[in-house]
Structure formats: structure tokens, C-alpha cells
Amino acid sequence: MTTLQQKTPVPAAEPKQGAIPPKLKARPSSMRRKEARFFWLFISPWIIGFVVFLLGPMLASVYLSFTDWDSFTDPNWVGVANYVRLLTEDEVFHKSLWNTFYFAFFSVPLGMAIALWLAALLNKKMRARKIFRTLVYLPHLVPIVAVALIFQMILAPDAGPLNRVLAVFGIDGPAWLFDSEWVKPAIILLSLWQAGGATVLLLAGMKGIPQEFYEAAEIDGASSVRQFWSITFPQLTPIIFFNLIMGIIGAFQVFAQVYILTQGGPDNASQMVVPLLFSEAFRNYHMGYASAISWLLFLIVMALTVVAFVTSRKWVFYETEVKN
């Protein structure tokens, strides 16, 4: 981020500076003022949107998080009581937090591992590659509401296809969404079905790895597994890192699946932070309390992102970076 504070962040970002013809450079300052006026005029939609839909609501949200408010009567200032209750008393919130961590902890790394494995398979020269790639990518294009409904059907305890397949192998499948032990794995399964989305990106990244690396490894007699871990994986770490960050942020905001499939049940076993926030705000009209949840969520996601960035120095490989 520090580089952004310099006047010219990236050479390509300010092409005008180098490209201005001499006669334009000597323009009178009234021209510059006119240009600046137009700049502010052109970006005015964003400024209005920023103030009305982001900055204003953010400040309101901070204030509301310190109040008790049902959205009909006047807000009642309660200080840090909402936060204290969330952190020390509210067991449903603790459970939803635990469930969200659980979901993120399994769905993000597993999803990435599957995407990487598929990309490694698809990167080889072979027939029907495009078909395989499409088949793996298709689920990613299905809107999450449709994914939820499809899995509601697939995971149905008795007639559902998954349990019927398991029965063929003599396994008595669980009741999935109705079983507090299995509801979280079921929701993770649903997110893994869309893991192929990252495969296309990883494939693009694999294309960019110089072929010479592999040729040299081949001469040295490195096995294909060894080549994967010593060449492919390190070269892909920037993309993997990016997907990790996006994955964490996405996992903590999981909503539609839980809302449609379980409403947090059975017995809050699948309750997660955003569905809880939603029901506190729009079902129970605890607007202040829900605002406090949203800020805790923000802090958690920020903390995890910072941790990911800090640890990334140890494992993310940037070709042009000089380490000391």
C-alpha cells in the first residue's frame, strides 16, 4: 500500500505525464483548473454514491452499534453493552461464530486443493480437454440459490440421489441437513461443488510458467510429482494467495445457502454470522445489536486478511521481489 502514496504509483498508471506534448505542458493554469473541474464533475456520481450509500451508512452503523433500536422508536444509547453481550453472553452468536470458522476452515483450503488438483490434471496435453474443463467449471456458473435448491434435492434423506448412491455401497447415509452432526459438512460439500471456478484461473497461471523450468527438471530426473511441488506450486502461489483472501472473505459472508436450506438449524448447528445478523436485524428488529455484529464480523475478516498477508511473505513467491 505504501507505494500507492507516491505520486506515480505504477509507470503505466499515469501515461499522460510522459506522453504530454510540449505545447500542452505549457498550457495556462486556467486550462488546468478547467481540467480539474471536469475531473470532479465526472467523478461526482461516485462521490455522491460514496457519501450516501457508504460513508453515511458506515457512520450511522457505528452509532447504531452503541444503541438499542427497533427502527420504529428513537434509538436508545447503551454504550458498549451490545458488544459486551455479544462477546460474553450470547451463546447463539458464539455458536454461529464457531460454525462460520468451521465452514471457512474446511471449505476454503479444501476448495483450493480440489481446484489445484483439477488444474494439474487439465494442464496436460490431451484430448477432450475443453470438455472436461467445461464440465468442471459449469457448477461455478450456477447461482447460489439454484445451488441450494439442487442440493436440497440431492441431500434429501431418503429419496435423495446421494444417499441412494451411498446405499449401493452399503452405507446408510445420514439425514444431512436435518442432522446436527452432518449439516455443516453438507454445507461445505455444497461450496466444494463450485470449486472448479478457481481452476480456470490456476490453469491460466500454469500457462505462464516458463517451459524451460520443466525441461531442466526433466533432465535432472525429477518426477512429475516433484515437478509439481518444486515448480508449479511455488509459481502459482500468488494466484493461490489471492484466492485464499477472497475465499476467506466469501466464507465469512455465507448467507443464502444457510437461509434457504436450514435457517440455521437444527438446533443452531448451522447458524452462521451473516444469517444471524440478518434475522436479528430484519426479523427481530434489533438494529443496534445487528450493527454491532456487522462490525465484529468486519474486524474478524480484517484480522484474518492481515494474518494472511503477514504470513504470505513466508510462502508466496513473487518473481520480481527481492528478499533480504
Binding site: E35, W46, G49, P139, P143, V145
Partner: protein, 284 residues
Amino acid sequence: MAELKVYKSTAFTYAGLLIASSIFFAPLVFVVSIALSSDQTVSTGSFSLIPTEFRWDNFVRIFQTQQPVGNFVLNSVIISVLSAVGQVFSSALVGYAFARLRARGKNITFMIVLATMMIPAQITMIPQFILFKELGWINTFLPLIIPNFFGNAYNIFLIRQFVTRLPLEMDEAAMVDGLGYFGIFRRIVLPMMTPVLIAIAIFTLTWTWGDFMGPLIYLNEDTKMPLALGVQLLTSTSQELQTPPWNLVMVGTVFLSLPMIIIYYFGQKYMYEMNLSTGSAGVK
């Protein structure tokens, strides 16, 4: 010996891919198979992976249920198309200014634009709801459409990256010819932006089409719901524990998913180019 090794590894690759892609694809085959099943097959649970009957009339019957599915589809189209139009125009204008016009405070403003990407929607959700409620916009499409007319940080970023890489000569020639900034934007830069604008239109269409939480917060009348919100009403049954009409629900998921697959098919070229040309590979 070496050849044998190659054959073996190719066989493993094929086997792995075959298994993986069948697992990924099987749910979609089930969707089609069930969407084409009769009510009786569905209620007895005797459907199979490969369709055995082809009840195409399910695709008509879905419009005759108690749920206004025709309205759902129409609402989805209205909301997502207007949102895309809003995003394209507002982000184009703002992105162009960040790429081409000079002003004091531009860099710091751009940093604020980037920083807004980190604020999760949940933070602003409640105050925005209050705002739209005060405006009397609850149960209208306005809260879902209007914010799109004020640009979006990610789209602005994409356009700015794209425009900074466009040649400057035409702008300068137009400037010499006395065309103003708005003229340059509209006549010169906007036409050259087409690929990035198409990409942004696709991103916005897909996002709005699939959005569930926004409509859930703002719309409470069945006839006003978009498909993503309305389709789940099809699972509701008159009696508890009764099997939902899975064939019609699956037709609903086909309606919800197929447009996205078609848009992706025709638009992937633009999205792919965009990721490469703006150096933002990996961002959807």
C-alpha cells in the same frame, strides 16, 4: 520404459478427470432428469440419473403454479438489465476521469475508491435499509437498481486500468480540434472502451441475477420478487413433510442457471481479455 511411464500417467490423468468431472456434472444431470419427470415419479422418488421420461410440459406448467413465475422472470430481467446499464455508464464516466484527467487530490481520491472495496456490505446494510425505508422505496425495485448508477469501486478500477492503456493520440487530436472533455469521452474513449464495458455489463448482470439477500430485504410481495428470491417459494407445500414438487423446482433452477451459462458462453472472451489486459487476473 519411458513410453510405458507416459502411457500410465496419461491413463491416470484420464481416470482422474473422468471421475472428477462426472462428480461435478452429476448434480446437473439430475436437475435435467428431475425437471423432465412426472409428478408421480417425483413424489414416489423413483427418478433416476438418466431421464426415462420427457415431460416437457413441466416447462409450461411452472407458469401455472400458485407462484407468479412469469413475474419472477420479468422482474429479474428488469432489475439486472437496469443495474447493468447504470454500472456501465457511471463507472465508465468515473473510470475515464481517473485515467485521463488531472486534478489535485486525484491520487488520494483513488485510494479511497480502492479502500471502499474492503468494506463488507453487511456494515452498510442496516442504515441503507433505513434510508430506503424513509424514501418510501421498500417493496420497489429502486433500492436494488439505483445504487448501481453511482459506480462501483471494482468496475471503476477495471475501467481506469483499461483506459490508461489506450493510446492518447486520438484524445489529443480531438482536443486540438476543440472537442471538450465530455466530447472526447463520448466520441473517442467510450467507443474504444467497448470490451471492458461488456465485461462490466456481464459482471453486473450475473451478480444481480443471482443476488438473494438484496431482494429478500427490500421486496415482500410475491409479484415483485425476482427469480432468485421467488424460485424457493416453489418448494413450499400445502402440508408439512409433503415432498416439494421437485420437478417444477428443478425447472426453476434451470431458468435461474441457464441464462448465466449462456451469458458466460458468449462473454467469456471479454472477461478473459479483461483479466489479462488489466492485470487483475483472478478477480471475477
